[in-house]
Symmetry: C2
Subunit: 214 residues, 2 copies
């Protein structure tokens, strides 16, 4: 499965694509950071980010796009630009006709480090280990985007279905609790998950941790 | 000046265009409501709204697009979809290369009714009077979109400039306090405002109220 991860931000927006095989091994496809200048009005910055996301979808050809949801405990003023970037990203993913998944920062951290409270450096370190990179991806936004993509490939529970912002609940049995029909990619993923489960695979998060701890 | 007003919403998004002449008379160009179904995943709903906004810009050919900012006192969960719609709208306005302005609901209400606490029915009633319509525009989202467009044509202080979400401060003297260069349309507007002032025109809001009160 190929996943494009997006770490939404108005000044720096991380875009990272990973390919994950049936045995959950993840490899880097590509990573970049779209930057916009505060000297531009916000709507022109959002346009430039939307253009960069559309170009990344074209370049990396993901089956699904995963994005990080902004912190709900932050104050509204600070999350507004990030939520607008999320809206811009969702338009481009929708135009590409792809499935989309949303995760909280702690879900992403937990998926790659085993702890929902891991720091930036720890996430960068683990992303490098998981993807067998010689150095942690820089800047942090790039590593975060890859972590979001890995999170979806391993967890896969955040797919957007019907209902406003609701997530399709894809259980490890391959059963889907959403009212919305799944796309072929989503169905394939759910089946692969069920297969994995039948083969007796352990929790991907713990599995990875063990693989990557010296 | 032709202004497209957007009342952002995921289920119903109001789109209303008005033409305002030098003497501040406003006439209706067109109004519509873009609707999306909760049976679609959020990113496909945002795509459909973005498509509708791009089509409305093409159809009505506005010089500037005004949008309503969500209430900051609302909780984050409820404003997230609306903020995402705002992001989607901003991308399309940016792609059209147009200036954009943002107003709070109370600024819009005050501009058309004289009171920032006016109710939906009062806004609908005043929009109908201002545009010389035989009946209030239905649904409320359509009237709100027109009220937002009228608000910008009369006030014009909410233009997005450089800096995140900052507004260009265009004073009635025609002086502009933003660091960002104005578009030709913005310059023309600022000059028209200054002319109006020199001619001794009173506050447009109070002026309108008087004109429209029986």
């Amino acid at each position: 499965m190929r996943v494009l991860g997006i770490d939404p931000g108005l000044t720096r927006c991380g875009l990272g694509a990973v390919e994950v095989d049936d045995s959950r091994r993840a490899t880097l496809v590509g990573v970049e950071v779209a930057r916009t200048s505060p000297s531009l009005a916000t709507h022109f910055r959002l346009r430039d980010i939307a253009d960069a996301i559309a170009a990344a979808i074209g370049r990396y050809q993901p089956e699904v796009v995963a994005i990080e949801r902004v912190f709900t405990q932050d104050n509204l003023q600070s999350v507004t630009p990030t939520t607008q970037v999320m809206g811009a990203a969702m338009v481009e993913v929708g135009r590409a006709g792809l499935a989309m998944a949303v995760y909280t920062p702690s879900e992403v951290k937990a998926a790659v480090t085993g702890s929902g409270r891991a720091g930036k450096a720890q996430v960068q370190h683990m992303v490098a280990r998981i993807l067998s990179l010689s150095a942690p991806p820089q800047p942090a936004d790039a590593a975060d985007a890859l972590a979001i993509a890995i999170c979806h490939a391993w967890r896969g529970t955040g797919l957007l279905g019907s209902g406003s912002d609701s997530a399709v609940e894809v259980s490890l049995s391959g059963k889907v609790s959403s009212k919305a029909p799944l796309t072929p990619a989503q169905q394939a993923w759910a089946q692969a998950q069920a297969m994995q489960k039948r083969r007796g695979a352990v929790d991907p998060r713990r599995n990875t941790q063990r693989k990557n701890t010296p």
